[in-house]
Each structure stands twice: as C-alpha cells, then as structure tokens.
Amino acid sequence: MGTAGEYLKSAIASIRNNKGRSLLTMLGIIIGIASVLTVLVIGDGLKATANGELENMDVLTIDVSVDASKTDKCFTPEYMAAVERSMGSSIYGFGPSVTMYGTTKGKKDDYDLYFTGVSDVKRLTAGNKIVHGRYFTRDDVDECNYVCVISQGAAIALFGYEEAVGETFEATVGEKTKEFTVVGIREDTSQDKAYAGQYGNDPMFMPDTPYTVVADMCDKDVNNMFTSASVYVYKDNKDAVEAKTKSVVENVMGLRGESAIKVKSTEGMDAVSETILNVITSVVSLIASISLLVGGIGVMNIMTVSVTERTREIGIRKSLGAKTSSILTQFLAEASILTSIGGIIGIILGLLFAKLACMAVGFGFVVNPVLVAGVVAISTGIGLFFGIYPARRAAKLNPIDALRSE
C-alpha cells in the first residue's frame, strides 16, 4: 500500500496528460454547479428582499375586528383611546387603517393618489423611515389636520425636489378637493418604486394621512366607520398582548360574552407568498440539478474511457503488487479532483452570476455559507458516486487480461 500523496500525484499526472479531455469534463460540472448555485442564491436574495422590510421591523400588528352580524358597534376614536389606556405601555397604540383613492394636479402631469388613512402610531412600522420632516401626530389625527407623509419619489414628482416639507398640494376625492400639507418625506420602499412608474405603469403615489381626514373627505362618520383596527406592539410583547387583546377590547366596548371580537396576528411574511417562492426555487433548482446530473454522467463517461485507455497500466500496476483498493483509490482520486476543481470554479462563477443577477433586478445578495458548503459536498459527492463504477471496473481487472491489452 502506498501513501495517499502518491495516488494524488498519479491522479494529477493523469489529468495533466489529458488536459483537453479533463477540461471538457470539468465544464459539465462547472455549468451544473454554477447554475444550481446561481438559482439558489437568487432565490435566497428574493426571499431576503421580500422579507427584509418586515424582518427589520420591531413593531408588529395584531388585527382586531368586530363581527357586524353580532353587534352594531364600531371602533370609534373614543373606544380606541380607551383600549390604548387599558393596555398601557404594553402596546404602542391601537388604530384603524382605511384607504382612499384620489388624484392631484402636479406641475407636469396628473397623478393618482392612494391615501392610507391611519393613526399616528403607524410611523413605528416598517417602510416609514422619515428622511425629512416628521410623521403626523396624534393631535393631527384628533384635530383632523389635512397633513400627509409622502415618499421621496412623490416629492420629486410633485414639487421637483426631495426636501418638500411644508409644501402643499390639492387632492381631489370624488367631488371634493382639499389642500394637503406635506409634513414628512419617507424613504421610498420597494412598493413605492413599483407604483411610481418605474416598471412602465402610470405613476401612483401612496401618502399616509390621518384616518380622520379620510373620514372627512369621504363624508363619513368617524364614529361609525371602522369594524377593524390594529394593535401596534413590540415584537417581543406580541404573544402576551395577543392573549389579552380580546378581553380588553370586549371590556372597553361592553361586548363581553357576545364573541363579537376577533383577533388575528399578522406574521412577518405572507405564508402563501413564501410557499410560492419556495416552489419556484425548488422547481428551478430541480432543472439546474439535471445539468449537474449530466455533468456527473460526463465524469463517469470520462473515467470509463480513462480506465479503458489505461487497462494495460492497471495490469502493470497490479503485477507490481497494487491491490484492489490502491487502484480504486487512484481512480477515485482522479474523479474527485476533476469534480472538486470543477466545483470550485462553478462556485465562483455561480456566485458571480448570482451577484450580477441580483444587482440587475435589485434583490439583496445573500450568501448562505451552508449552501456553499452543501454545493462543495455535492460536487465531491458526484465525483465519488459517478467515479465508483469505472474505478471498481479498473480495480477488478484481471492482471493477465489487462497486461495483454494494447
């Protein structure tokens, strides 16, 4: 028995002697590994981007709704304030969310507006990074001030510059036109970018405004408007708060024992979209794995040829005392080296492609070390798996027949 170093040396010599052929074999592995890795890393990037805003936020919401078939009561500002008092410092606030569709005349163009009427506590949630000015306050809500927070993109489109705090614009909703004062500019979110005409659609902006303003614009009674609202809570308190929300709200609204209140917490990412992403990633990786399989068969093919070509050499080695395991090791070393080198190049290329792709579509570039380690393991595994058949064939050759071959 010789040392592992000798087998490696011999395997490297054999790869060197067949440069072109070895390179072509490696190419199969390179393409396979690179495509699998690219797909998986892009998938991770997509998930990270989609999850990002939610994962970064420390404030989650618990949705509370009243069953209209059981009671006529709604979440009035008084009730909501009472719930906030009752919950004390365990929550940030309790407020509704309502949307309103309108238009505005900008300098160059008319723009669609999609107002979100909310309580001031919404400022604590993700996607509300104020870069200029401030979010509106509880006083703005209570006094029904026509103020709003708009995105950077909206500021530039409406006023031509970003620091547009204090500027006003007129918005028309139905028959009503009112002047809104911009109190804050928030950083563009991916959603803002998506609706701001970046992908060729008509631009639409999404200002946040007090829910009382929405009620006023739409001629609705703020006391008879909301059958649902959200508790804003620090993520670590969520479970505790969720457990007591129902009874607190029932107490405040006098609805004990009528099971008219429903509580539902919102999770980080929508489970359905997570599932869809996972399905897409697995389908594409399945397709990529097929190329990896083809690469592996390439290795098997090349090793079979190598064994056939070197039958005589195997015979010589056996006549000199090489054992089955020595020959097996030599050929497996060759296959593993081929696939490992191919694997390393494939990983470099795969990460490069993934980086470029993520940059091009604006995803985050996340490299999971476990994923890379897994891909390395797979490429070496392919070498061993597909190398074993030809290597065993080599090792089992009868030395007499092997010596006789030309």
């Binding site: 028995m1 010789g2 040392t3 000798e6 010599a13 054999s14 002697n17 005589r312 050499e313 015979g315 010589i316 080695r317 056996k318 006549s319 000199l320 005392g321 090489a322 054992k323 089955t324 395991s325 020595s326 089992k396 030395p399 007499i400 010596l403």
Partner: protein, 233 residues
C-alpha cells in the same frame, strides 16, 4: 538446495466443458533457491500459463503451488498482489513501463505499493538504476529511451525491492541482438548475485544460456535437464 517453488499436479483448464482447453496438464515442478532455469516451449505449449501461475497472476484449476513452503494456489486478489509485490520481480517482453512516469518513478512503483517511505524508496530505486547502468537516464520517460534501456529500467524495477524470484517472460523478444546480449548479461549477473531466475522463452539460443532447461509442450513437461553446455561467465 532449499525448495523455493514447488508445483504439485497442477492443471489449468480454460472453458471447462465441451471445448475445454487443458493449458497445463498435471504439471509437477520444483525449483530451488538460487537456480537459473529456462522454460522453453512453442506458442500454445502452455508456457505462458505456467509463467502466470508461477507469477501468482493466475490460480490453478487443480493441484497445489507452494512458494517458500506456503500454499499460494487459492488466494484472494489482494493476497496475490501482496505475494507478487514481495516475492516476484517481473521482466516482460514488452517492458511494461508506465509511459507517463519517469524511469525513477517506474522503479519506485512496487516500493510504493509495499509502503516504503519516500527517502528509502528513492535510495533503493537509485541503487537499482545504477546497477543496470542507467545513472544518467533517471528522469527520462520510456519514450525517450531505446528498447534496451527500457528493458534495463524494467529490470531495475524488478530488482529494486530485492524479491527472491525474477520471472523473465521473453525478456529479449523485442530487442535487437546487441541489446539482447546486454540484457542476458545483466540477468546472468543477477543470478550470480544469488537470485533465482526463471526465464520463459521460445528461443533455444536464450534457453541455452540457462543452467537448467525445462521443455514444455501440450501443457506437459517433456524434459527437465541440466544444461551440459552451461558455463559461468
């Protein structure tokens, strides 16, 4: 003289059944330590089968083969490899060097399989190449050498780890007459240094240089004589 090789009633049958070929037919043969034996026969006589048997490349269909008193007739592949490595140095007609390796690396091969460390291996390989007069060819590859030189590398490989038996299968078959004489000189010198040398040949001229001549045909030993014309060089 101590018995080195003892073959008892060995048969080798290929294709057992209707078209069976009896390559070896009840062969009995004993070779002692330090003999110089030629086994001569025409092609198809069974001499190659006998040589494979002696070289532990093949196992008999029936009968026994004792090497150093140990029964080696029915061993596993790996056990046979081990015996070949320790006991037998092969010299082939076609040299059988590995083309991608240098002379030195070729000679080191059996030592690698024996597990000899790098430094000791290089020392032994060096000594073996020196003893066949190839001091200056150590880093050459087989295709950079003449037939005679290649056969000398093969001899160096066979003797590097000092096996008790040298098995030479038509050692001069691929060589011109000058190279042949040179190779036979080396082989006889190795014998005179105390090794057991078995030469398999179809050439009476080569066989005549051995001390004992065994003639084989149809898988049977026809004659086994001490060569009257043998003279020490």
């Amino acid at each position: 003289m101590k018995k080195l090789v003892e073959i008892k009633d060995v048969c080798k049958i290929y294709n057992p059944g209707e078209n069976e070929v009896r390559a070896l037919n009840h062969i009995n043969l004993t070779i002692g330590e330090g003999e110089l034996v030629a086994i001569i026969g025409q092609s198809g006589s069974g001499k190659s089968t006998l040589m494979n048997m002696l070289g532990c490349l093949d196992t008999p269909t029936s009968g026994k083969y004792f090497l150093h008193g140990h029964d080696v007739s029915h061993m596993t592949d790996d056990e046979q490899s081990d015996i070949r490595n320790r006991e037998i140095g092969f010299i082939f007609q076609g040299f059988n060097l590995i083309q991608s390796l240098t002379a030195m690396e070729n000679v080191e091969l059996p030592l690698i399989y024996r597990g000899v460390g790098k430094r000791e291996r290089e020392r032994l390989a060096d000594a073996a190449l020196n003893s066949v007069g190839l001091e200056k060819r150590k880093t050459h590859r087989p295709n950079e050498m003449s037939g005679g030189q290649q056969q000398r590398v093969a001899i160096a490989r066979a003797i590097a780890q000092a096996p008790p038996i040298l098995l030479a299968d038509e050692p001069t078959g691929n060589l011109d007459s000058a190279s042949s004489r040179e190779i036979m000189k080396i082989i006889k010198r190795l014998y005179s240094e105390g090794r057991t040398v078995i030469i398999i040949t179809h050439d009476p001229g080569i066989a005549a240089q051995a001390k004992r001549i065994i003639t084989i045909s149809d898988g049977m030993i026809q004659s086994d004589i001490i060569n009257p014309d043998y003279k020490e060089d």
